[in-house]
Amino acid sequence: MFDPKEIRKDFPILDRQVYGKPLVYLDNAATSQKPRQVIEALTDYYQRYNSNVHRGVHALSVEATDRYEEARQKVADFIHAPAAESIIFTRNTTEAINLVAYSWALKNLHPDDEIVLTEMEHHSNLVPWQMVAQQTGARLCFIPVGEHGALDISSLDTIINRRTRLVSIVSVSNFLGTINPVETIRDRARQVGALFMVDGAQSVPHMPTDVVEMDCDFLAFSGHKMLAPTGIGVLYVKPSVLETLEPFLRGGEMIREVWLDHATWNDIPARFEAGTPDIADAIALGAAVDYLQTLGMENVRKHEIESTAYALERLREIEEMDILGPTDAESRGGLVAFTLGDVHPHDVGTLLDSDGIAIRAGHHCVMPMHRKLELAASSRASFYVYNTREDIDALASGLKKALDYFARSNRTGA
């Protein structure tokens, strides 16, 4: 049984008070909280078998290596990757995308090649491609965003064409909440022979992921958004594409043999993990995956649809509310961005904070889409496995209070 109230008991931070009020944490799209099990995976590592990996003959090193590689296998299983070698550990989604930009795109793209993104990309799936475009002469093209934050794919066949070498899209927008039609876009990418990459930062933590079904060449996501520690992220690479990637970071671990003037590369995936990896956090990501598997990703998704539907319902009660993105919960990830009358998002954030409610205010690293909507900023509440209806009720009352608070100066003058 999936019961957020039971789940909460695993998250020590949720017992915390903020300004003497219980913490209502609704900033999960920025980063998630961590269950006991994940924190214990860290302390267990440091208290029992901390060691550098891969080269040690001693017991600690063997254990650390085994657990590190076991975590890789767990992550592979979690996204149904055919082989553990397909999982490259990075720091976060951003590094994962940069790895593809540096190791594949800079080496393979030429003037007049095209890279297709959407208008709603997070900066991390935009700015690296701007660099690639600048350095290779390739062009960036964008699938536009239409009504209610949905991609307008009416011109997809023109936008993705024979010049397209790479299509990289966000599966779930961290701003609009939109779940994008990954399969449709992938099919078109395949038709023109382009590589297909998915920024899964907001989908992998929240719904079942099957990279074989998704048939993507690259999938990037962050551990810290899925109950795991900061410092660990993942780049999945399709086996057939792996060998076409140049090494990125260079140094220890990623080599096979080194001379003063040249070197040969280690096997995959070590080839892409230069230097001492973030061993502890990778192992703890394995524990986070275990935790999510136990909950069941279908259940996680179901809970999130329920949370989002309830949030939409409660927020719509507020007249001054302008909710961004798709209108129904099924078409969205577990987050809701909005503006609240003429109360600036930053002020909304401060007022909610004073009630112990943590949301995000700003551009959420999606400036171009804000600009298109003629917004400088927005507020965003985002949900995860431990959020309850009570959390959403608190949000709704907090927002009403914020409105009242700001209305004050209108009533009384100065």
């Binding site: 600036h344 400036m367 900023a377 100066s409």
Partner: protein
């Protein structure tokens, strides 16, 4: 009835501040101003667009501001346009400096506090470190405007 955080909130959002936010002063563009600059805080999207017009004697005749953003940055800008009028450029810089020290919790003289006038109402920001940038944005923009006018 109010706990400490509610008090601090009321300090942050004083009536005077919300009033400046609702009804910003001196929003006419001053195209002939000698000193102009645009300020931007990417984190909250606050924009501040300042013109400083100086008379022959080096006294600030008028300050114009058009912008958008949160209550704190916009109120701060509106207050700035009022308080700087009639000050010399030196005094303007000194006021900015005093305000910065006020927000950082550093020492501020009685006389400096007086010179800040309404702007002193923003000191409630001190307890909200993340908002200090908002309050300071108009002032850094003003300093930039004076810098640039000098060079140009």
């Amino acid at each position: 009835m109010h706990g400490p955080i509610e008090q601090e909130l009321d300090e942050l959002y004083r009536e005077l501040i919300l009033d400046h936010y609702r009804r910003p002063r001196n929003t006419d563009l001053l195209p002939d101003a000698q000193h102009k600059a645009e300020g931007f805080n990417p984190f909250c999207g606050d924009q501040v667009n300042l013109q400083v017009m100086v008379d022959a004697g080096g006294t600030i005749e008028a300050v114009g501001h058009q912008g958008k953003g949160c209550s704190i940055s916009q109120a701060s800008a509106s207050m700035l346009t009022e308080i700087l009028k009639g000050k010399s450029l030196e005094e303007a810089r000194a006021t900015s400096d005093a305000f910065r020290r006020l927000l950082r919790g550093e020492e501020v003289e009685e006389s400096e506090l007086n010179a800040l006038g309404d702007v002193g109402a923003l000191q409630g920001v001190r307890r909200f470190p993340i908002r200090i940038k908002c309050a300071l944005l108009p002032w850094t923009t003003m300093e930039e405007a004076l810098e640039q006018g000098k060079q140009g």
